[in-house]
Every structure is written in C-alpha cells, then in structure tokens.
Amino acid sequence: MAALLRDPTVLVAFWALVKIVGILLVMLGIVAYLTYFERKVAGHIQARTGPNRVGPWGLFQPFADILKLFFKEEFIPDGANKVIFHVAPVLAVAPALTSFAVVPIGPDFFVTDVNVGLLVFLAMSSLGVYALTLAGWSSNNKYALLGGLRSAAQMVSYELALGLSTIGVILLAGSLSLTEIVEAQRGSFQYGPLALPRWFVFTQPVAFVVFLISAFAETNRAPFDLPEGESELVGGFHTEYSSMKWAMFFLGEYMNVLTISAITVTLFLGGWNGPWLPDSLKFLWFLGKVLLLVFLFMWVRWTFPRLRYDQLMSFGWKVLLPIALLNVLATGGVVYWVGSR
C-alpha cells in the first residue's frame, strides 16, 4: 500500500481526480441553468415571458424542476429488458462528460492534454449512439424502438461528416491535440488597419458549416430531433422513461450541447484566444463563446421545423458528406502547395 502511495502516477491520478470533480460540479451547475435558459429563450421567441414565478426572474426554476422529478413515480414497463433499461440513461451522460476532459478551457487550464484529444472527442461522440438506441430497444415499446433505430441511423450517418470536417482543421494545425489546435489560432491576419483573428472559422468556413450542421444532428436537437419526434412517435426513445431516469436523458442532451459547443469553439473559434484579458482570465473568452454557441443551438431549435426522415438521410449522405470530402481534398492540396513552395 505504501509503495502504491509513493508511485508518482498515483499522485498524478489524484490531482486529476480533484480537477475532474471541480469541472464536473461547475458543468452540472451550468447544465441546470441551461434548461432555464432554454425555456427563457423559447419564451421570448414565442413572445412569452418564460418561467418567472420561482425566485427572482424565475431563477430557482431548475431546483424546483429537479425536486419535482425526484418525487415522480419510477415506472418500468412490463417485458422491458431491465438491465439495459437502467444502463441506457447512464450511457447518455457519461460520454459527453468524458470528452470534456480534453477541452482546453484556458491557457494551462484543462484536465489533461493528450496528443490525440480530437480523437477522444470523436470516440466519445460515437459511443453516444448507444444510449438512445438501447433505451429505445429495451423499453419494449414500438414507438421507442422506432426512435432508437432512427437515432442509430442518424448518428452513424452524420458522424462521418462530423469527422471529415475536422480533417481540414487538423491539416492546418498539424496536430490532433486540442491545446495545440488552440495555440495555432493565436494572433491575427493584418490587412492594413484591419485585423482578422487567426481563427479556423475564417480559413475553414466550409468545414465550420458542415461541422455545425452535423453537431445539431449528433445532439439530436431540432431540426434533427427525429428520434423523439413527439408529433409522430409520442416521445420517441424516452417514451417509457420517467422520474430521474428521464432527467438523465435530459441532462445528457444539454451536456452534449455544452460539450459540442466547447469543441466547436476550440476547433473553429479560437478557443480561449481573445484580446485584452490577462492569461489567467482568458477562460472568460472561452466561456463567452461557448454560451453564444449554446444560444445559437436554442435559437435554431425554436425557429426551424423538423426534417422528414428520408430528407435527413439524403441530406447527410448526398450533400454534407461530399462537401466534407471535397473540403479535405482542397485543403490538402493547398497545404501541399504552400508547403512545397
């Protein structure tokens, strides 16, 4: 035991755990308030006020919601596969949390910097499929199963475009490490008196658009919310879920929105790069950009109609994927040409 305690890797693991718990708690707090934020945004888009009764401006609404969900009846349908029914909600939250481990929040402010950070994110987002698919299957309900199958097909299809669109960024940054990708976006292009930040959104605009659209599909948010399409599938994959297990799916969705916004900011919007603030406060830039993107997610959800299933598939495979492939070819060509000069 004493030998184990003197092992330097144990010490590293301990401090990593402290950091993980800290970031986890902050994230859970943010996610709780994202539900409030979403309802406020939805309210104002529809010319309503949104929640305003619990506490000042309705600020305590998330706590009231959680309390309500705690006291709801837990319901498991007959003929459900009990083990998988219980495991699925956990799978909805875990991958999104895990990818946050590699996101650089500020200079020297991250849980870990692995040299394949981007792949960690892609691996976790590809594991996210299981939650919805298994939830739909284990419920023993035809609407839930249809929702689950839809989510499997949708997420596998859009994952390809998502992955391919990041290759342009990798080619320009020359690294898979998210920290180095942010470093590569430091500084600015000067055009006389005008300055344009060296963010990849300006050098990789096509990739940015493809990534953003695939991100909407990966998080199963409108206009890609077919797995839960309430007008045709009752509640889709979570039809049979209630109480805290349903809350886990809800949590997972917002966690995914937060994580994918953070990754988008890291890849395309310069991460924590920004003017004026000292290095120790640069994480405020990161936070601001992430919240702006989260707002975009909500704005789109409340203003766009849902796609039809076959439109979704043909858009993913026949439009998004070829564009992403062409972008890889074009970027590769330019990088080669510039490198050989």
Binding site: D7, L119, A123, T133, W137, L149, E159, S314
Partner: protein
C-alpha cells in the same frame, strides 16, 4: 499503477469476451463485444498506442457494432439463429478451430516467442508524435498492403451498390411504371439518377 490498470482491463476483456460467446441473447452478446473492444482500447492506451486505441473505439465500438445492433434489433432476433447447419456440425467445427488456435499458441510459446515490444521501436521512440509516426509508416514501409486493403474495401463497396441496385434493374427498363416490384422491396419513390 500501470500494472494494476492492465490487470483490471485485461480481466474485463477476458470476462466480456467469454460472455460474448456464452450468452444466449444476441443483443447482450453484441453489447459485451462492445465492452471487450473498449477494454482492448484501454490496453492500447496503456501501451502508449493512443492513436490505435481511440481508432479502435471510433471504428469498432462506435460504428461497426452499432450496425450489428441495428440489424439485431431490426430483425428482432430473440435467441440463437438457426443457420441451417446442424448443431453437431457447428460444435465440431468450433472445437476444431479452437484446437488449431491452442496448438498455434503452444507452438509459439515452445519456440520461446514471448510477446515482443508492443509497438515498433520507431513508434515507441516518438510517443508524442504517435499519430504522425503511424501515418509515416503506413505511407512508406506498409504502402503496398495499405493500398491493397483500400482496393479490397472499394470492391466491397461497389459490390454493395451493385446488389442494392440489382433489384431496381429487375424492374422493366425505361422506368415508366415498374408494374410489379418484388414483394417486400419497399423502395423510396423517385431518385432514379
């Protein structure tokens, strides 16, 4: 710390691999295979083969197994599939293959071939540029097998397209009104490029 982690993940790998073949429900078997892939990826990470480890998760656990699950759910496979081969023959083949595998293992161990270093020395030296090193090796020393693999995959892809298209060709050419599409072939209308 590292040996402890290795033993833990190896144990998960062995147990879940056994459950893949011992469990009677195809869906549960498939899920244990996912678990096996993930613990194998963890072992790759412990060997400093980060790129391979994560690609293992992305490709096998994240894409291929999802398609397996999709098919199992779609066909609603409850129990073992009847493949038409008698149980006795299947068991016999299984034992035979297992015997061959064990014999190979025995021969390798008896020749003193302990498992070598996990990664080629070139990779181990530059752990930081792991991905870069894998890429360099793939496009230099292993270029020929790499290209052959991609041709095999391309052939498979073309084959899939031909099989999927085949049904449509069976309809009268000219495509004015396919009078009788074969039963069960519910195709989306339109999009005859």
């Amino acid at each position: 710390m590292i040996p402890v982690l290795f033993v833990a993940f190896a144990a998960i790998l062995v147990v879940s691999s056994l459950l893949v073949i011992l469990h009677r429900s195809p869906l549960t078997s498939a899920l244990f295979l996912v678990l096996a892939f993930c613990s194998l990826a963890a072992i790759y990470l412990l060997l400093h083969a980060e790129f391979i480890g994560l690609v293992q998760v992305v490709v096998y656990a994240g894409a291929i197994m999802v398609l397996f699950l999709f098919v199992i759910m779609y066909l609603n496979l409850g129990r073992d599939v009847e493949s038409g081969v008698t149980l006795l023959l299947r068991r016999g083949l299984g034992w035979l293959l297992a015997a061959v595998l064990v014999a190979e293992g025995v021969v390798l161990v008896s020749r003193g071939l302990a498992p070598g270093p996990a990664t080629p020395p070139e990779l181990g030296a530059a752990a930081a540029g792991n991905t870069q090193q894998v890429g360099l090796l793939l496009y230099s020393r292993y270029l020929f097998p790499f290209e052959v693999t991609s041709i095999v995959l391309l052939v498979a892809m073309i084959g899939v397209v031909v099989i999927a298209r085949g049904r449509r060709e069976a309809a009268p050419a000219g495509g004015a009104a396919p009078a009788a599409v074969r039963s069960g072939a519910a195709e989306p209308p339109g999009e005859d490029a």
